[in-house]
């Protein structure tokens, strides 16, 4: 009985001795190639994308800087005009005592 079990164990252990390679599906390569081209980054397109991205960022930054500069200039000229109005009113005494001063009446 024991020898029979031992024999079975031996033949089971040796059952892979003459194993052949399993064949993969013949369509595997075609499928694989399709997948790889999908995920394959084309170097030319890849660098072109980067160029476009950097150019867009640069354009946005330039536009922002230009707008900020313009706004700053507008503020300065407005301040200047406010200042000149003040000077004129001082010269012509336009901001002297109010006509109706109820507190001093």
């Amino acid at each position: 009985m024991k020898t029979n079990i031992e024999q079975q164990i031996e033949s089971t252990l040796n059952s892979l001795d003459a194993i052949q390679r399993a064949e993969i599906s013949p369509y595997f390569k075609t499928r694989m190639k399709g997948m790889l081209t999908e995920i394959q980054p084309d170097p030319a397109i890849f660098s072109f994308r980067y160029t476009i991205a950097f150019a867009t960022i640069a354009l946005i930054l330039t536009a922002n800087t230009f707008l900020l500069y313009q706004r700053f200039n507008q503020n300065t000229s407005a301040e200047k005009s406010v200042q000149s109005i003040g000077e004129i009113s001082e010269i012509y005494h336009l901001n002297s005592t109010p006509v109706l001063d109820y507190d001093n009446q």
């Binding site: 059952s15 194993i19 599906s25």
Partner: protein, 188 residues
């Protein structure tokens, strides 16, 4: 070796001809390694696909310290073990769902019949594959790479980052363990 350097350089440039050759040269090697570990024909093909995608994605990380085949074997083993872990955790979740009375489809683990085994050995080989599944991971990998993939101890040592001696030890222990498992099986 200089051929390999040239070939890897082509792969790194994304040369489609080089990828054609890579698939031609390694598809059966990868598929059979994965199949020997996961014991499932359809899943083995999916994992083989993932292995090639991984090779494609990380070819720039390949420094050429080892043979290209060794590096691909390592990826194939890692992907197969990842797949097994995922399947195991899925099975545990399903088990708990069953306990809680949630109805789910159970996936029965049927006997695996390797297509490369001779007809008269099919049943024995199925029993052996079932027994191999019960071995500790390192013993199982060493045994599969030698018995199924037909590699020698040195090659397996390079793949598993171990000395030839320790691979010999792993295979000896695997055989002893398998004898015990099979003894229990045939004594029933």
């Amino acid at each position: 070796m200089s051929d390999q350097i040239h070939f890897v350089a082509l792969l790194k440039t994304g040369d489609s001809g080089a990828y054609d050759k890579l698939i031609d040269d390694y598809q059966h090697m990868v598929y059979n390694t994965v199949l020997g570990i996961v014991n499932h024909l359809h899943d083995a093909e999916d994992i083989t696909q993932n292995v090639f995608i991984q090779v494609f994605k990380s070819i720039n990380d390949f420094k050429g310290d080892s043979k290209l085949s060794t590096w691909i074997y390592r990826i194939a083993i890692t992907k197969s073990l990842e797949w097994e872990r995922k399947k195991k955790s899925k099975r545990s979740i399903n088990y708990f769902k069953n306990l809680m009375g949630i109805s789910i489809e159970t996936i029965e683990m049927s006997a695996f019949h390797h297509p490369g085994v001779e007809l008269h050995n099919k049943e024995m080989a199925a029993i052996l594959f079932k027994a191999i599944k019960q071995l500790p991971e390192n013993q199982r990998l060493a045994f599969v790479l030698i018995k199924v993939e037909g590699l020698n101890y040195q090659e397996v040592g390079e793949i598993m980052n171990k000395t030839t001696k320790s691979i010999e030890g792993l295979v000896l222990r695997a055989k002893a363990q398998l004898k015990l498992i099979l003894n229990d099986y045939f004594s029933e």
